[in-house]
């Protein structure tokens, strides 16, 4: 079903632009046109349908649902909701405080917040179309595991000790209440017209936000594809040398992107022979460990906790990378 985009790229690159299929420029242009057109169409169609389905899901409902849940299942649920609930990263602080003041443990809240940037419908869509369903399933499982284990770890070291004092007080107050006093939202069924309106707004909103990332990401991917000499990556990094994984993680920190921008780069890196674990480590670090977001968390966490969360992410991405490089032959 995706051949139409290959044909479009064939026609535009070789006929309209009159580039030779054997030239580097032709190769890069073909990659760029095929991926951008494919991703744009997929995004517009799929975001709309996914938004239709989840129109009635919001962070308030998730909070009501998670409040009072047993810890064991709480991390799994927190991470799962993080993957499917839409919310803008600029809302992470209010969400953190909203969860906290409902008495939800810090670890469960962090499972939610850590998984959220790693997994979302746009990322899954891109992974499916560019790297196939096996890779997608793996990516989702790993992303959720990082969130779940991270949350569990933070609770086991009693991370709530290092919250800012007002947040710690809110948490204590929330946990002392036997039943949350926030009125539960009435769970009404949305009529189709409202779902359609929500889905339309979401599609335009998300597309308006991510289209530039797609161009940048695919552009970088195309440049890698066309201009990095064949076999260069394979020769120097192809054996999954152990140091290449933490190096990739560190390289990803100052690079700030969302999943949309980085996935086309992943595709290109893997095609060029970079081992799958190294690629994953690089991408997760780019997406989830970004300084701007961490500085925001300073409003609710003390430096010490912030540093712990940051280190925890770096270590877990490296472990993910090593494991995948070690087992990639079985994939």
């Amino acid at each position: 079903m995706f051949e139409v985009f290959t044909q479009l790229a064939d026609w535009l690159t070789y006929t309209v632009l009159n580039l030779s299929p054997d030239s580097k420029l032709g190769d890069a242009a073909h990659f760029f046109i095929e991926d951008v057109s494919k991703i744009f169409v997929l995004l517009l169609v799929m975001i709309y349908f996914i938004a239709l389905l989840r129109a009635s899901l919001n962070v308030e409902k998730v909070r009501d649902y998670l409040a009072g849940k047993h810890r064991g299942i709480g991390y799994l649920l927190g991470s799962g909701f993080g993957a499917i609930t839409p919310f803008c990263s600029c809302s992470s602080i209010p969400v953190f405080l909203g969860f906290t003041s409902a008495g939800i443990p810090v670890g469960i809240t962090m499972s939610f917040l850590l998984t959220s940037p790693l997994i979302n419908e746009v990322a899954i869509l891109l992974l499916m179309s560019l790297l196939g369903w096996k890779f997608t399933v793996l990516y989702v499982v790993i992303g959720m595991s990082v969130g779940i284990i991270g949350g569990f770890f933070l609770d086991s070291i009693r991370a709530e000790r290092w919250l800012q004092s007002f947040a710690a007080k809110a948490l204590a107050a929330g946990q002392n209440k036997a039943t949350p006093d926030q009125p539960k939202q009435e769970h009404q069924v949305l009529p189709f017209s409202q779902r359609h309106q929500f889905a339309k707004d979401e599609t335009l909103e998300i597309f308006g936000r991510v289209w530039k990332w797609v161009i940048v990401g695919v552009g970088l991917g195309a440049a890698l594809h066309g201009f990095v000499p064949d076999g260069w990556i394979e020769t120097y990094l192809g054996d999954g040398q152990w140091w290449s994984v933490p190096a990739a993680v560190f390289l990803g920190i100052p690079l700030y992107s969302n999943a949309t921008g980085v996935i086309p780069v992943m595709e290109s890196l893997i095609i060029n022979g970079l081992p799958i674990g190294t690629t994953l480590a690089f991408c997760m670090s780019t997406v989830a460990a970004s300084f701007p977001e961490f500085i925001l968390l300073k409003q609710v966490m003390q430096w010490r906790l912030l540093a712990i969360v940051f280190m925890m992410l770096l270590v877990s991405f490296s472990v993910v990378g090593w494991l995948f490089n070690a087992f990639s032959s079985f994939l």
Binding site: N58, E60, C90, S91, I93, P94, S101, F166
Partner: protein
């Protein structure tokens, strides 16, 4: 005079919301003092989790999106 607070961490949607309210209040000739509130403690006190949110005279009226013009007009004419 209405005291209108736009709650949010300063992202572009919050700015849009504040501008929209100011503009409509001006057009309708309703005196209003629109301020942007970025303090997370205040948001917590209002129980707001999705921004931008709007509070008029310390009553929360909206949360989670840029309101549309009809909604804003309704708030401005009420009370």
């Amino acid at each position: 005079m209405k005291q209108i607070k736009v709650l949010g961490s300063g992202c572009s949607k919050c700015k849009k919301t504040a501008e929209l309210i100011e503009q409509l209040a001006h057009e309708m000739g309703i005196p209003a003092n629109v301020t942007k509130e970025t303090d997370p403690q205040v948001m917590m006190a209002f129980g707001v989790m999705s921004t931008p949110a709007v509070a008029i005279d310390d009553q929360l009226v909206h949360s989670g999106s840029v309101p549309n013009a009809a909604q804003v007009k309704e708030w401005l004419t009420k009370g």
